[in-house]
């Protein structure tokens, strides 16, 4: 940890927060606790995005993940349990085998990460990326962009169909 500046320190804090929140998601016994921990994780990840000079992506992360997906998840939780339930269970099963597998794989992957000779490059100074992303969407990445909208449409229709109640 020598040679760390302030920025690096902040990074470390944010990384810690993220990982602890993720642990909260993984090990919490209450689904609502997990949901809120998830929010924390998302926020932390957004901050990390900022550190990686992806400002637009960070904002998008907050907007969609926290504002969209998380809220949706909470709605789902509310809809699938009795409203009076305070302690909503989120039990785990087979923790030990899961831990074993995860740790094993984790060890291997960590070895890969640490051992590989990543081609490091001096990162350039961060600059706003919004304009560039926008241009890219309507330039080189036009097709994926349009396809993505089609996918979203399909998801939309699918979700509506799936959650529709049969009229008796």
């Amino acid at each position: 940890m020598s040679g760390w500046g302030i920025a690096d320190l902040v990074f470390g804090v944010i990384a810690a927060v993220t990982i602890v929140s993720a642990a909260g998601v993984a090990f919490s016994k209450n689904i609502v606790y997990s949901a809120f921990a998830l929010m924390g994780t998302f926020m932390g990840v957004a901050a990390l995005y900022v550190f990686l000079a992806a400002d637009f992506v960070a904002v998008i992360q907050v907007l969609i993940y926290v504002g969209g997906i998380l809220v949706l998840t909470l709605f789902a939780v509310m809809l699938t349990h009795r409203i009076a339930d305070v302690r909503i269970s989120n039990r785990s099963v087979g923790v030990l085998p899961g831990l074993v597998v995860v740790v094993a794989v984790g060890a291997v992957m960590a070895k890969a990460v640490l051992g590989a000779n990543w081609l490091g490059r001096r990162p350039e100074t961060p600059h706003p990326t919004t304009a560039g992303i926008g241009n890219a969407f309507l330039g080189d990445y036009l097709l994926p962009f349009e396809l993505a909208s089609v996918v979203l449409l399909a998801a939309l229709v699918g979700a509506v169909v799936l959650s529709r109640k049969e009229l008796k």
């Binding site: 993720a22 998601v25 993984a26 990840v45 992506v57 969609i64 998840t73 809809l79 989120n90 990543w118």
Partner: protein, 102 residues
């Protein structure tokens, strides 16, 4: 040493493993979905890290945006399915949904 690519990779690895653990062990369907979200986030971090410390182009960021968008779509569908499961089984405990048991 300064914060470099490796650190980011380690962070995403940690998230990935935790997300994986969620997926493997949770009984609540929504819990499993949360795990999936975690995994997707870790992948995004990887993309961006390599984008910044690798080529420096926008490709990684564009991809991350696509991932986020698709994650959203998938979460929507997934939760709609979970609602459907709840309507059928009156529970979202994945252990209960074993009518396809052989």
């Amino acid at each position: 040493m300064a914060v470099g690519l490796t650190h980011y990779l380690l962070v995403s690895l940690a998230l990935f493993l935790l997300g994986w653990f969620c997926v493997l062990t949770r009984r609540n369907a929504i819990g499993i979905l949360m795990g999936v979200e975690l995994i997707l986030n870790s992948a995004n971090i990887n993309y961006l890290a390599f984008s910044r410390y690798g080529s420096g182009a926008y490709d990684g960021q564009l991809f991350a945006i696509f991932v986020i968008m698709l994650a959203a779509a998938e979460a929507a569908i997934g939760l709609a399915i979970i609602l459907g499961i709840y309507q059928t089984f009156q529970t979202i405990d994945v252990e209960a949904t074993d009518t396809l048991r052989g």
